[in-house]
Amino acid sequence: MREAVLNKFVSPNTLPSYLDQSAAVRERFQRLKRREVILKVNNLSKVFTTAKGSTLALNKINFETHRREFLCVVGPSGCGKSTLVRIIAGLEQHTSGDVLLEGKPVTEPGSDRGMVFQGYTLFPWLTVKKNVMFGLEVNGKGHHEAEQQALQWLQLIGLEKFAESYPHQLSGGMKQRVAIVRALANQPRILLMDEPFGALDAQTRCRMQAHLLEIWRKIDITIVFITHDLDEAIFLADRILVLSAHPGEVQELIEVPVPHPRSNAQFISPEFLATKARLEELIHQGAAPDEDDDAGTYQMVARLTDVSDNVD
């Protein structure tokens, strides 16, 4: 049913295939793939064991990201995308398979992998500047050096005026900007982002996406970004890893054909729409039936208004 609705708006006949890449885009992907592999995930599986029994959350996940790549991970709810990124961060243990960061297996959290969470996780007792200094200091940098670097990072995101403010004095968008540079200050090899803009309003989220691309362009960082917002994924990513649910499995690794540099105008470009159509298709296929039971739900809603007063 959904596909029918979708086809009414974006007819596949008028759109190019999402697999078609312009010469520039193709050349860009070739360059990207020539760079060294930063993260390699090999046959990764995760089983959650509870009193009721065990559930397979992730099943034989395989992918790799190259240096300075921006990888987005999307999938229906319950596909284990958060679990995947938490395993890469070392916050959770996997059941089998390997996670290799520059060839070294990941076993515990470490400063070589930065992470930005969906909730605001700035330390409320530290000022903005000291939040950014935190990682540097626990990794043995001196106070003075850490302070210098923190101020530089704050300049990069234009928040140097808020250096002495406490997190509760900042807006949600500012907090996440600080959280991003707090993670980057450690100069990790990879930045993991678990729906970092999920709690922000639409306008702020848009600005934050542009901000993030700007930061990513300026420094040598590989990003793995979890989201459920397909537009966000296409706008940000070089490649998109699409997972299916129950158990979480890789459905496809899509190379986004939208050229760089990205801008808001591209949201209606044919490549963008083609990619989005493909993502919609994959995600609604891969969703578990119990979670995509809209038709049944609609029938159950009784009419609670005057029958002659139709809204459509």
Binding site: A89, G114, T121, W125, G135, V138, Y166, H168, A179
Partner: protein, 320 residues
């Protein structure tokens, strides 16, 4: 007025001040009504003139009915009847008597020559509380934090502590005297026993309430073991820990009177029991109130200090 009864809504600063004042004024008004309006309660008669009744004396209090009987008897025998005014029992002094006692109790010399003045008694009590609370905290705060941080540590300590906290602290009085003698040792011990076990459990729970995402964020920034405790867990719970300590200090005060009765009676308790023995009830009330003033005063100072110490803590604005 309507805004005072909206669920979970703050009230205006003016209303706060007004209601805060009323919470003290209303009980005093009630007390004054009972004390100064003869028609309210006043179950006794204070004899002003015994008349012909030889067993009465001026200033004596007796039940209204007994007094009426005595007066009727005198009239029947055509003798001079006694005179008296309605009065409350001696254990309920009027507000002004207690207010006077608040002052005079400090300048009245002790009944016995080597007995303590009121301020000496109070100082002694404050020292007992102080040491009891300090000893309890030196042990209880770290153990509580460790319990909250490490589930294994909690599991090996908390079940027993949970059991122990149900044992009434005063029950250990005799034991404490046998071990530590009759002076301040057993008193401090009772306060420690009364405070410590609650302290471990409360602080353990406070620590467990720390947002685990903050710990995870610190982990991904490369924080390891001990630094996680000193740089994340402890600063993260500090405002709540401080609040817990304020509540526990109040708790310690409630054990004071029982503690001071153990061994040789000392401090404010000794003062109160002495005054009660002489039926100086106005002074007894005054002494009890002084404990309240010290407690509330300390807490207000600590609350103000807390706002200074933890400028990032938003919950303080709401509660204080």
């Amino acid at each position: 007025m309507r805004s005072w009864f909206q669920v979970l809504r703050p009230i205006s600063p003016r209303a706060r001040l007004l209601l805060g004042g009323l919470s003290f004024v209303l009980p005093i008004v009630l007390w004054s009504i009972v004390s100064y309006i003869p028609a309210v309660w006043h179950p006794q008669i204070r004899v002003t003139d015994p008349g012909s009744i030889d067993y009465l004396q001026p200033g004596m209090r007796m039940d209204k009915r007994a007094f009426a009987d005595a007066a009727a008897e005198a009239r029947n025998e055509h003798k001079e009847p006694p005179l008296g005014v309605p009065a409350n029992p001696i254990y309920l002094p009027a507000p002004h008597e207690v207010a006077t006692a608040l002052y005079t109790s400090f300048i009245t010399p002790p009944a016995t020559q080597d007995g303590p003045w009121l301020h000496q008694s109070l100082w002694h009590s404050i020292q007992v509380i102080f040491w009891g609370f300090v000893i309890s905290s030196v042990l209880g705060v770290p153990i509580g934090i460790l319990c909250g941080t490490y589930a294994g540590f909690a599991r090996i300590n908390e079940p027993f502590i949970e059991f122990f906290r149900y044992l009434p602290a005063p029950a250990f009085g005799a034991l404490a005297v046998a071990i530590l003698g009759i002076y301040d040792g057993p008193k401090i011990t009772i306060i420690v026993i009364g405070t410590f076990f609650q302290q471990v459990l409360i602080i353990g729970n406070t620590t467990r309430k720390l947002d685990v995402a903050l710990v995870e964020a610190a982990l991904t920034l490369g924080t390891k073991k001990l630094k996680l405790l000193t740089r994340v867990v402890i600063p993260g719970i500090l405002p709540d820990l401080y609040r817990d300590q304020r509540i526990l200090l109040g708790w310690a005060w409630t054990y004071l009177i029982v503690a001071e009765l153990i061994g040789t009676s000392t401090g404010i308790t000794f003062f109160i029991t002495q005054q009660a023995r002489y039926q100086h009830f106005a002074t007894v009330y005054a002494a009890i109130m002084i404990i309240g003033f010290i407690g509330l005063g300390t807490d207000m100072v600590l609350a103000t200090l807390g706002k200074r110490l933890f400028p990032w803590d938003l919950t303080l604005d709401k509660s204080a």
